[in-house]
Symmetry: C2
């Protein structure tokens, strides 16, 4: 005896989710079948396909949006002179939660990674250059890629592309996380924290 076909199909399909292998998918599928109401499963099913059909990428910044232009790009009260370049759309939410940045965003859609075959043409770097050229008031680009090897290489590359635009290009600071312990920090972080020290 094997599982019935609809159960096998559900197990296989759930494995598309990140971090879900065969065992987890099996546990999830059995839970769906034995514990959840049909109404709730219908809702989940609709939410899945609805998220694909009703969401798109903002044509300007690349943010996830319900409309061709996202709510940040449409917001006339936001500063049009400063751009924060992030790897992924979800990084925008992290900045927005913090709430102090009132400028524009630009989503790269990844980082340079020769190992994974990701080159500059796979990222939205040309679009960034064009956006800035079209903005005579543009003053600064903050590169907020992740503080790891790929993120640094990508930041360097963006700097090299934008250097002739005359715009100010900055990189978010590296250092000890707020609330962190020095004795738990790795050496690279401590080195960056030392390098980036500022006078009182």
């Amino acid at each position: 005896m094997n599982y019935p076909q609809p159960l096998i199909e559900l197990i296989e399909n759930l494995q598309q989710l990140p971090g879900v292998g065969p065992k987890t998918a099996e546990r999830m599928a059995l839970y769906v079948i034995t514990k959840l109401d049909e109404q709730d499963v219908l809702k989940m099913s609709k939410a899945l396909i609805g998220s694909k059909q009703n969401l798109m990428y903002c044509e300007t910044c690349g943010n996830i949006s319900e409309t061709p232009k996202c709510s940040i790009c449409r917001d006339e009260t936001r500063d049009k002179t400063i751009f924060c370049v992030v790897q992924e759309a979800k990084d925008i939410l992290a900045f927005e939660r913090m709430g102090m940045f009132r400028g524009q965003y630009h989503v790269l859609g990844g980082v340079l990674s020769p190992m994974d075959g990701v080159g500059p043409e796979d990222l939205r770097i040309i679009e960034l250059l064009e956006r800035i050229k079209e903005m005579p008031d543009a003053q600064e680009v903050i590169v907020a890629t992740n503080p790891n090897m790929e993120g640094e290489a990508t930041a360097q590359y963006i700097q090299s592309v934008l250097v002739n635009t005359g715009i100010r290009i900055s990189r978010i600071a590296h250092g000890l996380p707020v609330g962190g312990d020095i004795d738990y920090a790795d050496e690279a972080t401590i080195m960056k924290a030392l390098e980036g020290r500022r006078e009182f």
Copy 2:
């Protein structure tokens, strides 16, 4: 800025899955939106609702089935004199994988758990009693609930219900798992392994 509504709905709905909290649901939802093809998401969506609409519990044994009577209960070549009582339908698959048991199953749908408000009337114990009464050839009931407190209490209860039927009632053996290390085993397991020792 918050996430757009379809994304929020997906994050909320994915949290219905076991082991998926807000952070995991967010990661999964963003993955669905940014990395998966619409076709694949449509398939997953259909598999979810299809699993609810096309599966049922076998009216005889309680196994998950595509038909009112499951493939095991329909199989005329299987032994009708011996019954294996399991907690959940998924336990049947574990026995079937092992492949040496050719009798019938009976799914309880849980175990006695006064803390969670699960009493005998919530389990398929009456159904078991009736099944056995209708089977004049029935010879043995093997109680294969899990080897923990609730499983033992449930096994004891089933024994007390069936004792007057004159049928043989057995409990699966406890002991060291095959391939296990004695020095990793807990004391309760070692005690059970000692109690259950057999002569060569």
